[in-house]
Amino acid sequence: MERETPGRLFWHRFRRNRLAITGAMIVILLFFFAALAPYISPYDIGDINTKNALQAPSRDHLLGTDQLGRDVLSRMIWGSRISLLVGFVAVGIAIVIGTFLGALAGFYGKWVDNVIMRFVDIMLCFPTFFLILAVIAILEPNIWNIMIVIGVTSWMGVTRLVRAEFLSLKERDFVRAASATGAKNSRIIFLHILPNALSPIWVSATLGVAAAILTESALSFLGIGVQPPTPSWGNILTAGKDNIEIAWWLSLYPGLAILITVLGYNLLGEGIRDAIDPRLTAS
């Protein structure tokens, strides 16, 4: 018999969950598309050929061409890089801010907790999309600003999660033992409590990537996200709206790509949650 480590237990539960495996496969596949974009795109994404504009899907152009005659499939493959980048960087920012503030609030309690949690309440009052739009329009709309703004406006959930973990963990014996041996607060926070508080963070990070990708695509669609000629799924859809009467393929496929990607990350996130702690499952 092999020893049942938490990692093995996790993998054992995860493997049996068909939906979670599907999600993981989608995510891995997308990584491949993004990494191999220059090799697998059938055409150059900057190849403007107005004679070829708005061609319906055919054998030459599997997903048709856009208003400048560029190959939609190739642009979508390159667009997967943008989604991946925005998703991961934005979530990274949100996790760092959220974990830091949540740890402070949960560990120190009292007025620190009060100030931080009131700040969370205030931030949660804003329709996030309004806040993002306002900031993006004032800064320049480019991919870096988008990632920062999405990250800075989506850390509140993580803060609440981490705070709750810290509140319960700081009363546990191993933490008391550490502080009895005279460990510094920073050591207790980062070395003793944080590693034990990580599992809910993984789940919310995975789901967060999905949310960030959705937000980026909406911003790019509105013309205040990733700017052309850089291809993103959102800004291909803008072309779809402009040519809605003639070119259905410009609207259909990029949206399908967003749908599948977001679905993949959501399935993966739920799968991780179930595998970490089956009791948390919302049946």
């Binding site: 949660l124 329709p127 306002a134 809605i244 977001v262």
Partner: protein, 314 residues
């Protein structure tokens, strides 16, 4: 309440003012002949020459009397007027879509919980996952292509047809309804998945509790058990979720109002963002947040009214 409101105004103010790029930039950058003197005069008109905290206090003082200043745009109208004339349509659409969400999502949640693992339950679970992942603006595009372009059943933009004024009263109502169907459906769609999932998991939890077991073992009909005993308990937390979904709905109005060209608050916000119309942006940010706060308050109060265990402190 009050500290939250103050926090909201402070953050809105900081968001707009700590960012680089003066609102006078748009007018001056486009005109290379403008002198430094003229630029200073413009800044003075907008009060941008004063220190930030003074600007904030002045703005706050005017906010209390609902004076949000004048728009930077050509018309220069008071921000309050501009927003107020656009709020009704946004609230109408959001209220109707909230109604639609409750009407569809709650029964779905209840039925799939009552018949756990049935075909219906599995089907709705898939629907929920897909529903979470669908970008609403894409859904809007597809529906426009299907119903507007291909079938020609529904108009794809605006609130009324060109001949609206000449229609009989009934025709006017029908015309308005036709224009609103797609926007309402699209804005409701995002909430459907969440609420039905939430209702289902609440219902499942409630069904397993002792009082439901008791009701069943008394020999009550399943219908009575579900609808009389379980449903009431399961619906309570749903009220809170509805309150929490208000910011999402309001934020989403930017997207669908822009797509369907509906002259509401969301579209005004989008246009102001594009034009860097700071007073309007600030005004809508604050109003959006206050509406959210109100939504939560209403949810809290209805929760207290619906749940006899909670007494409102006097």
């Amino acid at each position: 309440m009050i500290p939250l409101l103050l926090g909201i105004t402070l953050i809105s103010f900081m968001v707009i003012h700590l960012a680089p790029g003066a609102p006078t930039g748009l007018q001056t950058d486009l005109n290379p002949k403008i002198t430094a003197e003229a630029r200073a005069r413009l800044e003075k008109i907008y009060g941008l020459d004063k220190p930030l905290h003074t600007q904030y206090l002045l703005w706050l003082k005017r906010l209390i009397v609902l004076d949000l200043g004048n728009s930077f745009s050509m018309d220069g109208r008071p921000v309050t007027d501009k927003i107020i004339e656009r709020i009704p349509i946004t609230i109408l659409i959001n209220a109707l879509s909230m109604f639609l969400i409750i009407l569809i999502a709650v029964p779905i949640g209840v039925i799939s919980a009552s018949y756990q693992d049935s075909f219906f339950d599995k089907f709705t679970t898939v629907f929920v996952f897909v529903g979470f992942a669908v970008p609403t603006f894409w859904l809007a595009l597809l529906l426009m292509i299907l119903f507007g372009v291909n079938l020609g059943w529904l108009p794809i933009s605006g609130l009324k047809s060109l001949n609206y004024e000449y229609l009989p009263a009934f025709g006017m109502i029908m015309d308005r309804a036709k224009h609103l169907i797609l926007p309402i459906f699209v804005s409701a769609f995002g909430g459907l998945a969440g609420l039905s999932r939430y209702t289902r998991s609440n219902m499942l939890e409630v069904i397993r509790q002792d009082d439901i077991m008791t009701a069943r073992s008394k020999g009550l009909k399943e219908r009575v058990v579900i609808f009389k005993h379980a449903l009431r308990n399961a619906l309570l937390p749903v009220i809170t979720i509805l309150g929490l979904s208000v910011p999402g709905l309001i934020g989403g109005s930017v997207i669908f109002e822009t797509i369907f060209a509906i002259p509401g608050m969301g579209q005004l916000f989008y246009m102001s963002v594009m034009a860097r119309d700071y007073p309007v942006i600030m005004g809508i940010l604050v109003i959006g947040a206050v509406l959210t706060l109100l939504g939560n308050l209403i949810a809290d109060i209805s929760y207290a009214l619906a749940d006899p265990r909670i007494k409102i402190a006097k």
